[in-house]
């Protein structure tokens, strides 16, 4: 198929798509630096969760064979990665409302650079938060027992899982369009998603009907994978199950987010 006159070829488009996405990633990272209070509270909240679970609930929860600090930290990290998606959804809804997305779309910039830039910056932010949480974890008794390779893989699993949830959030933000509605909706799905799981307590302790929900929950599988990587357990099975979830989420919500972006105005 020939390209109409004036339309750039595939190679040029790809090059610009990367460059445009980078410009927008920078933009979102700058926003983060400019509002240090947002950054501060987005770190305080998960740190507080780690401390609360470790010291308030930790004494009451006994996990055979492992200290609660080691047990709960992967859960707290996965939860934090999922909660970071608030920023994705609210940010996109806000950009849409303020006409910033229209502005970019009326420019020669690659159409989906906003989406890519947003998700890239959110992923980088997740990575930073995960590292901070690991530091706090070490202070309260968490240890990697499997060596640096699995430790790095654990961080990677958490970040990729976060990206998958952010993709869902990108769709939600662009579809709902209203920052306040987006915020309320985020609470509605993220709390059950992260708490009805093995993130903080063993699934076996829940009533049977709830176990049926908690067991296949991607958070449960991702956290199990992270635990296996951190201090031992069956790595392969959990890893494949988690990967399947992440791929499925991206395959469904990636195109949905793109479609919502295309239609949003």
């Amino acid at each position: 198929m020939s390209t109409p006159a004036g339309e750039p070829g595939i190679a040029a488009r790809a090059r610009w798509a990367v460059s445009d996405s980078r410009v927008l990633t920078e933009r979102y990272l700058l926003q983060l630096v400019r509002v240090p209070t947002v950054l501060f509270f987005s770190l305080i909240q998960p740190v507080m969760f780690v401390l609360l679970f470790r010291y308030v609930f930790g004494g009451a929860i006994h996990i055979p064979g492992v200290g609660y600090a080691e047990y709960m930290l992967p859960g707290a990290i996965a939860q934090t990665a999922a909660f970071a998606s608030f920023g994705t959804a609210i940010g996109l809804a806000y950009d849409l409302g303020r006409g910033l997305i229209d502005r970019v779309r009326s420019m020669p910039a690659a159409r989906f650079a906003v989406l890519v830039g947003r998700l890239t910056s959110d992923t980088l932010r997740s990575l930073a938060v995960v590292i901070v949480l690991l530091g706090v974890g070490y202070a309260v008794g968490f240890r990697f027992d499997n060596g640096p390779g699995p430790a790095l893989l654990m961080v990677l699993v958490a970040v990729v899982f976060g990206l998958a949830i952010c993709t869902i959030a990108a769709f939600v933000g662009l579809a709902l369009k209203d920052p306040e509605a987006v915020q309320s909706f985020g609470l509605v799905w993220l709390f059950p998603l992260t708490f009805v799981s093995g993130a903080f307590v063993p699934v076996q302790t829940m009533p049977g009907w709830l176990q049926a929900v908690a067991r296949p929950n991607p958070v449960t599988l991702v956290v199990s994978t992270m635990r296996s990587l951190a201090y031992g357990g069956p790595i392969a099975t959990h890893l494949w199950e988690s990967l399947a979830w992440v791929v499925a989420i991206l395959a469904v919500f990636g195109p949905l987010a793109v479609r919502a972006y295309r239609r949003a105005s």
């Binding site: 109409p4 400019r34 806000y94 303020r98 006409g99 020669p108 910039a109 369009k177 920052p179 105005s265």
Partner: protein
């Protein structure tokens, strides 16, 4: 030599949202270097037309070309040569003025050095040099609009679209922005400007097109349009609505068109052409003679309402498409949130 293509050429453009025909067969042509003032109330289709012309929205039927490029088939070519400043300042609050423009430049594919130089240039030109390195959150409404306009100019567009550029600005900022826009036009930029204010279309536009319910209902120069409307208007507000008949009869002979009575406002309006203050004096004399009690009487320039009344027989309705409504609501909310 053939004549250069029109900067903007629109033929039979249709865009529907559900059952609403936001654009219902619009034809337009804007010669290069001229200014078209698109006048109409909310929901008349102005923004929808701008969105189609700036490749943000696909038309359902008809054709639109910008500088000879079809907006559907060659969107990239169109985007490279246009600038858009929408109804609300698309400015990133957390970035400085410089960063906003620099980023816009890079997204228009200027190289880094050029983008930075251009950003600096525009900040100086728009009187924002001193605020260049402050975050836009602290800018006033007028500064924000100027920054937004500057962002639409980074790539030196040949055709510029301004969607209600002065809505929400105080009178002084509005005058400032007008003068900036006049400078642009002097430099040869083709401009399509939407507005709800006849005065603005008159001040800035070479040609005014009036849009109502997605259709062009009038087009022409400002004086021609005003002639159609009947020039200045004498408005007389009555104390007692029962006097309406008598007031209409008394003012009939001084008008260039039939006087109208607005029940809601208890106001009799009569277009008096260019008769000016003389017509006002005559109106006062006649109403006094017929013992019509007045709450107020004034001579004023025709408003959008007068244009609509004259052209359509109904006042400018604020009925809009659902899409437009929800977009405005959303933006209004986003804007409210952005206020410190």
């Amino acid at each position: 030599m053939s004549t250069p293509p029109a900067a903007i050429a629109v033929e039979g453009l249709v865009k529907t949202f559900g059952s609403t025909r936001a654009l219902d067969g619009v034809d337009l042509e804007v010669p290069p270097g001229s200014v078209l003032g698109l006048l109409g109330p909310n929901g008349s289709g102005k923004t929808t037309l701008v969105r189609v012309l700036t490749t943000l929205s696909l038309p359902d039927a008809g054709r639109a070309r910008v500088l000879g490029h079809d907006v559907v088939a060659e969107p990239s070519a169109v985007r490279r040569r246009i600038g858009l400043a929408g109804q609300f300042s698309a400015v990133d609050d957390h970035l400085t003025g410089f960063e906003n423009l620099d980023m816009a430049g890079r997204l228009c594919h200027l190289d880094r050095a050029t983008a930075a130089r251009r950003a600096q240039e525009l900040l100086e030109r728009f009187g924002l040099a001193e605020a260049a390195h402050r975050v836009a959150k602290g800018y006033s409404g007028g500064m924000r609009r100027r920054l937004d306009l500057a962002a639409s100019l980074v790539a030196r567009p040949e055709v510029l679209f301004l969607d209600e550029p002065t809505t929400g600005l105080d009178p002084r900022s509005r005058l400032d922005l007008w003068s900036v826009i006049r400078d642009l036009v002097r430099d040869g930029t083709t401009l399509l400007l939407t507005t709800q204010y006849l005065e603005e279309a008159d001040q800035l536009g070479d040609v005014i097109v009036v849009l109502d319910r997605g259709q062009v209902i009038a087009r022409g120069s400002a004086p021609a349009l005003k002639g159609q409307v009947g020039g200045d208007v004498v408005t007389a507000r009555l104390v007692d609505p029962a006097d309406a008949e008598r007031a209409l009869a008394a003012l009939g002979p001084i008008g260039v068109a039939t006087p109208q009575y607005d029940e809601e406002e208890r106001e009799v309006r009569v277009p008096v052409g260019s008769a000016g203050p003389g017509a006002l004096l005559e109106a006062v004399r006649r109403l006094d003679q017929d013992e019509v009690a007045l709450a107020d009487i004034a001579l004023r320039r025709p408003s959008l309402d007068d244009v609509f009344l004259a052209l359509t027989g109904h006042v400018a309705s604020d009925e809009s498409t659902d899409a437009g409504k929800s977009r405005r609501r959303r933006r209004a909310r986003a804007r409210a949130k952005a206020q410190p």
